[in-house]
């Protein structure tokens, strides 16, 4: 940590300070071999299959934004953490911390949205808890969801990417940065024209279909806080390989790109809530792309780069104009509270 005795907003940004807090505090004290693997879900051996287990808290401001709300996000976030670990999500818990005076109608809307999302991806919300705190002691509504899912033992390394080799292809299921920008526009009530909608979506259908149909999936991670750039730099940090990606191949919706340009945000670092980055053996890339193309959450798929032997530990971006630059983890926060 920084040597100081205070939690700063940056500790929740998903970038370097968040990581330091996780490693130097939580891992240090809660540490065990399952937690320290630092994957999106804990993968726990059980007799027969493996169990994936994850938890996430949601504090997004505002609660409703184009393309979603805190309820949909709370289900998708946890479902996606299970899905990208290679698991089939089964059960969720839901914990609500509600500020005194919060409108029941809004809570109803949010709960309905959670139920619809859970139903659409075949998971059940099986346990929960509610606490109400004094006005001013939380901001309207916070939700925590935990989830469990089952995965085949052959998929148990997908979260950590143990089998990645130079030559593997890096694939993403569509355009980036829409969630972070949609939330920012909604939060600041910016009248910027254009139509920016969050990509918030459950990915378990897509990942399940791919894992069923093909082998060769070496790694999956959803590119949430910290964006695509943070996933890529974490992926190769302290590893014996490097990553090369082409700016040209990374898709960004024109509206999203325009807003990013306008406000000076680098879309590579802006959050997504329905994007999975996959590392796939080269001979299997074709079939993964075909499956994605026919799926509603994957039709805009692209191969954005590959794993390389050179510059181990570093991600290099080939810029559109032919230059090259390094991509590092998000330092500080680009946007406050996007999930």
């Amino acid at each position: 940590m920084t040597g100081d005795n205070q939690i700063l907003l940056d500790h929740g940004s998903g970038g370097r300070l968040s990581r330091e807090l996780t490693v130097n505090l939580f891992f240090k004290h809660f540490g065990n071999n399952i937690l320290s693997a630092a994957t999106d879900s804990a993968v726990v051996p059980t007799p027969g299959e493996h169990l994936a287990f994850t938890t996430d808290s949601f504090v997004v401001d505002p609660l409703f934004f184009p393309g979603g709300d805190i309820g949909k996000l709370a289900v998708c976030g946890t479902v996606n953490d299970l899905a990208v670990s290679g698991a089939t999500p089964l059960y969720l818990s839901a914990g609500f911390i509600i500020e005194e005076g919060f409108l029941l109608d809004d809570l109803k809307k949010i709960v309905r949205s959670m139920a619809d999302t859970a139903r659409s991806c075949g998971v059940k919300i099986v346990t929960g808890d509610t606490k109400v705190v004094n006005r001013g002691h939380c901001d309207k509504l916070f939700i925590n969801t935990s989830g469990v899912g089952l995965l085949k033992s052959s998929h148990k390394n997908i979260g950590s990417g143990k089998g990645i080799k130079p030559g593997d292809k890096i694939i993403i299921n569509g355009g980036i940065a829409s969630h972070g920008m949609a939330v920012m526009i909604a939060r600041n009530e910016l009248n910027v024209g254009g139509n920016v909608i969050s990509d918030c979506a459950p990915l378990s259908g897509l990942t399940g279909q791919i894992l069923k149909a093909t082998s060769g999936i070496k790694f999956m991670r959803d590119a949430t806080r910290g964006g695509l750039a943070t996933v890529l730099s974490e992926l190769c940090e302290n590893r014996k390989f490097g990553i090369e990606v082409a700016e040209e191949a990374i898709k960004i919706d024109d509206n999203v790109r325009g807003i990013c340009e306008f406000f000076g945000f680098d879309p590579l670092y802006v959050a997504n809530e329905g994007k999975v980055v996959m590392v796939v053996a080269p001979e299997k890339a074709g079939s993964v792309i075909n499956i994605m193309k026919s799926h509603k959450y994957g039709h805009d798929v692209s191969v954005i780069g590959e794993v390389v032997e050179k510059h181990p530990g570093k991600t290099i971006l080939k810029t559109k104009i032919g230059g090259s630059r390094m991509i590092d983890m998000l330092a500080g926060s680009q946007l406050p509270r996007i999930c």
């Binding site: 920084t2 100081d4 907003l9 370097r16 024109d254 680098d266 810029t319 230059g323």
Partner: protein
Amino acid sequence: MRFIDEYYDTSLIEPLLRSIKKISKKEVRFMEVCGGHTMAIRKFGLPSLLPENIRLLSGPGCPVCVTDRWFIDKAIALARMPGNIITTFGDLVRVPGSSSTLEKEKANGADIRIVYSPLDALALAKEFPEKNIIFLGIGFETTSPAVAVTVANAKKEHLTNFSLLSSHKIMPPAMKAIIHEGIKIDGYICPGHVSTITGPEMYREIVGKYGLGCVISGFEPTDLLQTILMLVDQVESGKPKLEIQYKRAVKPDGNLKAKKIMAEVFETCDDWWRGFGIIPESGLSLNKKYKPFDAGEFFNFNEVPKPEEDKACICGEILKGLKTPAECLLFRIKCNPGNPVGACMVSSEGACHAYYKYQG
């Protein structure tokens, strides 16, 4: 995407690069004095495309980076006083003062709000008439007109609970200071947005008196490459001049309305720049008519000691183009964006931040 893709068009980029390589013979060093250019150059990976005899240096173009540590200490002192709300642009909250940052003060309970426009501070002044709203004004000619409008509006609306802590600066005196310090450069990539306000004439003296080429540049890859080509051409032909590459935004007279409001509200003053010390007539302070809105009139800063700058941090030399961030002993190890020692690492426009983020 229209108005963006054109500037990345490889059928324009490649001929520009070919021309630069063809005519560039001499070893040259061009300095950009705008944080936006620093970021753009690194973000597009331009140094990896240019021939080795052309070096690009980052000068004192990032407003956060050149700001005095005393300014941060004064802002922190204000933040600690009950009844004050500090309003600021986001970058400033993480800049280290002598013993704290505004971000830490915020976590400690101080009321510090990040605003996107200085006018948001006036809205707060009206919403909370019992509080003092202080806006931390930093930046060059691009941001100072909006701050001038804010102060003028505060006077018009007879607000008595709004004040400005100003560290606004103007660019040409620093550009001259670079030359006076004997730093060897062969031309300036002049700031685009500053020049949309001021117009090009303020650089005339640098060309005439010091024989140094000045090209006002846009921020896209084609803009910057065309600017570099224009500067190379000037050096190779031995004819330094003042040229505008960024013609779609910079007009000969600049923005008359913005210049008028700045002249109405501000006067120049001697100001302190990190790496340079005091540069005469390089800062902007409120003039007599608007002095009542100067935070210095409201609050007594005598008890805020003038701090020493960190000895190991070479931000000053980096801002002068004498050293690159990679030559700093603190770079990456002790000083990184998560834990910045110097201001050049804090601001997203700072040279150290840009090197850290894009160059590895």
